[in-house]
Amino acid sequence: MKIDLHTLGPLVALVALVILGAALNSAFLAPANITNVLARSAFIGLIAVGMTFVITAGGLDLSVGSMAAFLAGIAIIAMNAALPTTGLNWGTILIGMGVAILGGVLAGYLNGALVTKARIEPFIVTLGTMSIFRSLVTWLADGGTLSLDYGLRTLYRPVYYGGIGWITWPIITFAIVAILGEWTMRHSRFGRHVEAIGSNDRVARYSAIDVNRMRLLTYVLLGVLVGLAVVLYVPRLGSASGSTGVLWELEAIAAVIIGGTALKGGRGRVWGTVVGVLILSLIDNILNLADLVSPYLNGAIQGVIIVLAVVLQREKRTAEER
């Protein structure tokens, strides 16, 4: 098999970070810490897998963070509203999950339709919907926080914290979605067409691919995955507010690009995205492991590591191209 340097580069960065972490603190490799890091990567991870498809098809979605906040908000409202009728049981929680996922489908459809039907630049569409979702959730929460009923929260909690041994549900979900995503990108017609569209949409059109439909589907897929991320997020914090999911979009896009997917589309690497997500979570985790510097400088270290992680990968590429 041919080794793909685009994926290898970030992998090297990931391994370097793991070694650094282990050197800084022996607890780094303890199962508890690994569980924590993997589980919290799941939100951005799910979103980033969806984002990989959107970007590969030549799109972009800046609204995912706000969308997550909005979906969490309506899911919580729905569960609280249903509680008196349906009672304190899993049925109520399933309603909430359903609302999150269905809301994700609709929100993704909105973005996709504006991009493909109204033919507006994705950057603008999703910048607009980013404002809209953010502002709606703030309004729904009346400027404060929307909280899930305490009983429901206790019932729902194991969805984030429980699992099979130390492999908690978010980790399992992220793993399954990553595998399915990789499979879809590599081995399905949909993935093939997504890559073709991002590479050259005229060629795709000439090959009888319904370009608009496929593009729309990538946004819907991303919406569903944002919904799924929300399903895992709500039991963790039990609330949603205007500050939920701020900057998730940048993190997700960064993970996708660190992973070797080209921002201009045409080449999607779901594995790379997973590695990118892990790199970003590990940076935060490692900064917490040691008191390296003034906390004010955490951002600077983060920035340097992100750039370095990509340098590792690009260096190889230039060598290959020359």
């Binding site: 603190n25 607890a27 780094f28 303890a30 508890a32 810490n33 924590n36 919290r40 939100f43 703030t138 929460a141 009346d142 400027g143 404060g144 926080t145 909280s147 305490y150 929260r153 909690r157 997020y233 963790r236 914090l237 039990g238 609330s239 507010s241 205007g242 500050s243 939920t244 999911g245 701020v246 900057l247 935060d284 985790n285 917490n288 492991l289 008191d291 003034s294 906390p295 004010y296 955490n298």
Partner: protein, 295 residues
């Protein structure tokens, strides 16, 4: 000498606006001071930009730093309640600062300012000082629960008086945003008698906008939280800034210090300490003036 090392984790929001900046400074300053004073205490400080990151930080402190106590200023009450409870359930000492958790009785120690008083004290000053028919505009902070509490209390204090609130927009505790909002208020309302800027960072932007419009003589401004520049001007008897309402960022220092004392002294440090908001007037301003703080 107690040889056993105790680790105290401190988790606070990052310095995204003036008040939090002051709070960050006080936290670091206190940690440095206590770290030197008590060699068997170790501190772990982390700052978070959003609630989810703060939960991550607390998880990391538990999993990798093995803390004995946690001092936390929750970014938001609701999302932090369960994670902080998990820390308590693991048998750690928990100090909650400023924003109460949504469930009673989790923390060992609670040190807080009083947001309701913060709004009320300001509101009462407006009510008592302004003549009937006076018109005021309000700049709100970032939409959050604590902003709601302050604004509701302010409104309640004015209830029944003849003072009219013309408008309330969000200045996001940010000088630039407040400047723009105030400029637009000035364009929109020919008569404004007073401004409640609810935060000294916003007050700075508001004052600039007023003086740019040359309407300094028409209105005064009340901020909040006792920023040193503002306190200085009150001390100097600036007419535009008659008073201020405290909400000291130094409360984090008290919280960290009391938590530390819990480990180094014999006195158990538990209970609720509410540092109420006070009115800073030209007479008492001197005692609220900290020239070294960045805030």
């Amino acid at each position: 000498q107690d040889a056993e090392k105790k680790i105290i984790g401190v988790s606070i929001p990052s310095a995204t606006h003036g008040f939090m900046g002051g709070l960050n400074w006080h936290a670091q300053d206190t940690i440095k001071r206590l770290g030197a004073a008590y060699p068997n205490l170790e501190f772990v400080l982390s700052t978070a930009g959003d609630p989810a990151k703060q939960v991550n930080d607390i998880e990391d402190m538990m999993a990798t730093r093995n803390i004995d106590a946690l001092v936390v200023l929750p970014f938001e009450s609701e999302p932090l309640t369960a994670p902080v409870k998990a820390v308590k359930d693991a048998g750690k000492f928990v100090t909650v600062v400023d924003r109460g958790l949504s469930q009673e009785g989790i923390e060992d120690l609670y040190v807080a300012g009083d947001n309701t008083a913060f709004g009320r004290v300001a509101g009462e000053y407006f009510r008592d000082t302004l003549p009937a028919g006076a018109k005021v505009v309000v700049l709100r902070g970032i939409p959050t629960t604590l902003d709601n509490e302050r604004v509701d209390a302010f409104r309640a204090a004015l209830e029944g008086s003849e003072v009219q609130i013309l408008d309330m927009q969000h200045g996001n505790w940010n000088r630039d945003d407040a400047f723009a909002v105030m400029q637009d208020y000035l364009a929109k309302y020919p008569q404004i008698d007073a401004v409640w800027a609810a935060d000294d960072d916003m007050a700075i932007g508001v004052l600039e906008a007023i003086s740019a419009a040359n309407r300094q003589d028409e209105m005064w401004v009340i901020g909040g939280a006792g920023m040193k520049e503002i306190v200085k001007r009150i001390m100097d008897g600036d007419k535009q800034l008659p008073v201020n309402v405290t909400y000291p960022p130094a409360l984090i220092s008290s919280a960290i210090e009391m938590t530390a004392l819990n480990f180094v002294s014999n006195a158990p440090m538990t209970g609720r300490f509410i540092i109420s908001s006070q009115l800073i007037t030209p007479e008492n301003a001197e005692q609220f003036y900290y020239p070294d703080s960045p805030f």
